[in-house]
Structures are given as structure tokens and as C-alpha cells.
Symmetry: none
DNA sequence: CTATATTTGTGCGTATGTATG
DNA sequence: ACATACATACGCACAAATATA
């Protein structure tokens, strides 16, 4: 869930939520995270906000994005 | 480059810089100027400031903006 | 080879909130 | 009160890359 009234920007909330799913193993290494459209519906935010969140995850080194395919959880075990 | 400390507003400085590129032929008639995002990165300003600058160029009759496509240098030779 | 579906990339339009001078 | 400037967040449309039928 996301709180639009929070001082924490929505895109940060979304990024943190996805990061948590990576941390707890719900989203596994080398597997794609949900598509932008899927995340958009899940969190009920705009696609722009989702893309902002995913960009944050890339900056944090948690995922890599492949155009036309999707965004994948980075395997940091190797 | 842009000087945030100048008495000349940043959005005017950006508009003048783009106008100069049109005047010297760097940006050609019927061709798009760099996107808002590109200009934003070039000048290291916010998108709002870029849009303010482009609005100024429209008022000056130097460019036309096509929603969803881009902003084009007006051909004043015809 | 073509066509379609999916997904990300790009581009502009708009609105609101915050901060500063 | 006003202008400037930034950040956030919504929307729409189309392009490009990829995968598959």
C-alpha cells in the first residue's frame, strides 16, 4: 500500500516496497519483477511514478532493466 | 551554461541559448529542438524551467510545439 | 516473413506543493 | 502579493525492443 499524504514520496514508497520483496526472497534473483503496468495496478499509482521507483531500484543496484523484456532482480551472490 | 545568480531569470537564459542555436543554424527549420528532458539535463535545470523557456520561444515565434511529438524550429523562409 | 502481444522508452500536457527573494 | 525554480504526480500517445504464434 501507498500513502499519498505521507512526507515520503510515493515513488520512494513503491521502491521500498519492491526492495522489501526482493530482500525477503519473494522476488528472486535473475527473475523479473512485475511489469510497470502490473506495479501500476498493484499500487494504484501512475506509470510515471512506477518508472521513478524502478529507476531508484536501478540506482541502488538491486535490479537491471532490459528494454522490451522487463526488469530483473540482480543476483549479487556471484 | 546557465548562471543561477544572474539577474536574468534562468528560463530566459535557457530560451536565449536555444534561440542562439536556431540563429546560427545549429538547430535547423522543420527539425525538432532537443526534448524537454534533454534540455533539462543539458542545462541542469528543472523540467518546469525548460517548459517556461520553450513557452518563451513559442511566444517569440521561433518554434511550434506538437503535443506528444516535440518542439520544432519554425521555417520562416517561406 | 508477418502479425500480434507485451514491455520498456520517449515526449508533451497538466496540476499541486514547497521554497526563496 | 508575485515571480522564479524545483519536485512530485497524474494523464495520454506513440515508438522501439522483444518474444511468440
Amino acid at each position: 500500500m501507498v500513502d499519498p499524504l505521507s512526507a515520503v514520496p510515493v515513488y520512494v514508497q513503491v521502491a521500498d516496497a519492491v526492495a522489501a520483496r526482493i530482500a525477503n526472497g519473494d522476488l528472486e534473483p535473475d527473475r523479473p519483477i512485475p511489469s510497470e503496468e502490473h506495479l501500476r495496478q498493484d499500487f494504484e499509482v501512475s506509470r510515471g511514478t512506477v518508472r521513478h521507483a524502478v529507476a531508484l531500484l536501478r540506482e541502488r543496484g538491486l535490479v537491471v532493466t532490459v528494454p522490451g523484456r522487463g526488469t530483473y532482480v540482480l543476483d549479487r551472490s556471484q
